[in-house]
Subunit: 339 residues, 2 copies
């Protein structure tokens, strides 16, 4: 309908534009094109811009701006202006970052990850949510949903917090909420590290099929919202490696400086690896999956052995992906720590 | 800028439209207005429609449709077209609705509510998220966030599911995803029952202050997202009363018909009240708050007595609000059940 209306208008324009005296064909064609740009394209773009910026499109950059100007807002949108202003020298130790704080946060984040997986497991796979050719969306529903939600959360200031990392960092709108001064603890190079592409691929292609039942119950919106919860929880945990690395660097600066100066990944990986701690973490998250995923009943201690998400999947998630990817983030951060 | 461009185009149009032979002033003015509508307004609206429906505006109904036709899409947006088509006569018992299914769902939803409260308690109150005069939003951040998220979830088909109820049902956009045929179990009158205003007020003014710590950590977006999770979980549970009422009505139709015909709320309330079951539910949700809200450690059974959300708050939430409001939904539904 809309395309037909536009075509109708475009075809009628030359009839209305009868220059006096009449022009030969080629100048008349140019005259028509110019008129079309002036009377149709400019108001269309101007109105799209106006509606887009003020009302309609929290998730989109301005079409008009991108056509009429070369200003690139992309980089400020991920909170870079905040992080670039951060000067986290190793002398600045009054920012409240302690090993205990980092450990407590990592342990608390395990609960969030387990809850989010259990909540995702309420729904079957719901494969239509992942169909990349959903009509009218130009992407899968999950991609569309995550992108739009991230844009909305960006307007609510989510990515001002250096612990948060968007999956679609391009063209995020600026925050509309009062600025909050987060403690400046990380080296500015931290902002260049974003592992979310790897996490996205791991989550949808490897993890998801392991813990959701096959089937389709139509709850695509809730499914996409649950996927986003899982993705955000896992992403926050893995990128928390930046804070882990910072606190380890501060506590053992003498050990870390030589491999950083030598840009020696393997030496850094050895310094960061504690096999017994990793084993304990895997056991703990499996225990959390049992505790939080049991059916709690009055009068007994629940259905032992029947869990909403297989504890082995959760400990596998940690062993195969969360721990290695966190280490990757730590190494990437440390390699830049003395820049 | 966009307004200036539009004005510029509008003012230049009469110069381009020089009819041959020249017209007197009034016909020329009409000719200009007609040309303007044809060459500017129609393509603008058509393009807005096209972009609006397919890409840009999850949160808005179609401007073009509302201008060019009198079709009112607002009501269909809450899934009414589906529910109006529902013919849930008491004879139609092949739709899979059973008392056991309803009970299982209610019990599973308790876990979701407890998880969502525990996750909200990760953040302090974060009162700037509730400031009704946030500049640039015309509402509190939470209101803005919930409204926009609901619009986005509506495009992903959330409110096609009769179990889901929006907090801001006005002007929700239509679903863009493949239609899913939910079982038609409820009487069409169910669609007119939405208790979300009461739930919103209860959650923010009464419940929230009971279980979050005072303070401000800047995570307003995450706070708003957690609030929405809590609101949606509580709302789904309370409105599940429609299904509870339907299954009870089917099982004991002879008992329910007289008070329904007499429109006797008190008699219905008595039929729906089982004090011992309610007491058991309150105890079970408190036990869930203890189980899911404990700190799980390896080697011992966790910090007994220290929970992320006070179990008394969760059992109070059920006793004071969830159970009475569910009963309210059941009564409202039953009063309309024979319409």
């Amino acid at each position: 309908m809309s395309v037909l209306c536009s075509l109708f208008s475009v075809l009628l324009l030359p009839c209305a534009l009868r220059p006096h005296p009449p022009l030969p064909f080629v100048p008349f064609l140019l005259y028509c094109i110019l008129s079309y740009i002036l009377f149709t394209l400019v108001p269309v773009l101007a109105l799209l811009e106006w509606f887009g910026c003020h009302k309609f499109r929290p998730g989109k950059s301005s079409l008009f701006s991108s056509l009429l100007s070369t200003v690139n807002c992309q980089r400020t949108s991920v909170g870079e202006h905040k992080m670039a202003a951060t000067a986290a020298s190793s002398d600045n130790l009054n920012d409240g970052l302690t090993l205990q704080m980092v450990r407590d946060s990592l342990i608390r984040q395990e609960d969030t990850i387990v809850f989010s997986l259990i909540e995702r497991a309420r729904f079957p796979l719901n494969s239509p949510a992942y169909d990349p050719s959903t009509p009218g969306l130009c992407a899968s529903l999950v991609e569309f949903f995550v992108q739009k939600t991230e844009a909305l959360q960006a307007t609510a200031g989510r990515y001002e917090n250096p612990e948060e990392h968007p999956f679609f960092p391009d063209n995020l709108p600026p925050s509309l909420v009062p600025h909050f001064k987060y403690p400046e603890v990380l080296h500015p190079a931290a902002m260049s590290i974003n592992m979310n592409k790897v996490i996205w691929d791991m989550y949808f292609n490897k993890l998801l099929p392991l813990f959701v039942a096959p089937g389709d119950d139509g709850n695509y919106a809730s499914t996409a919202a649950s996927d986003l919860e899982c993705l955000q929880a896992i992403s926050r945990r893995i990128h928390y490696g930046k804070l882990v690395a910072e606190v380890k660097f501060r506590n053992e600066q003498k050990d870390y400086e030589p491999p950083i100066r030598a840009q020696d990944r393997n030496a850094l990986a050895s310094l960061l690896t504690f096999a017994d701690v990793e084993e304990a973490v895997k056991k703990r998250v499996a225990k959390k999956a049992m505790t939080f995923g049991q059916e709690v009943k009055l009068g007994d201690n629940g259905d032992k052995g029947k869990y909403k998400v297989d504890p082995a999947v959760v400990s596998g998630l940690y062993g195969d992906w969360v721990i290695p990817l966190t280490k990757e983030v730590e190494i990437e951060y440390l390699l830049r720590r003395l820049d």
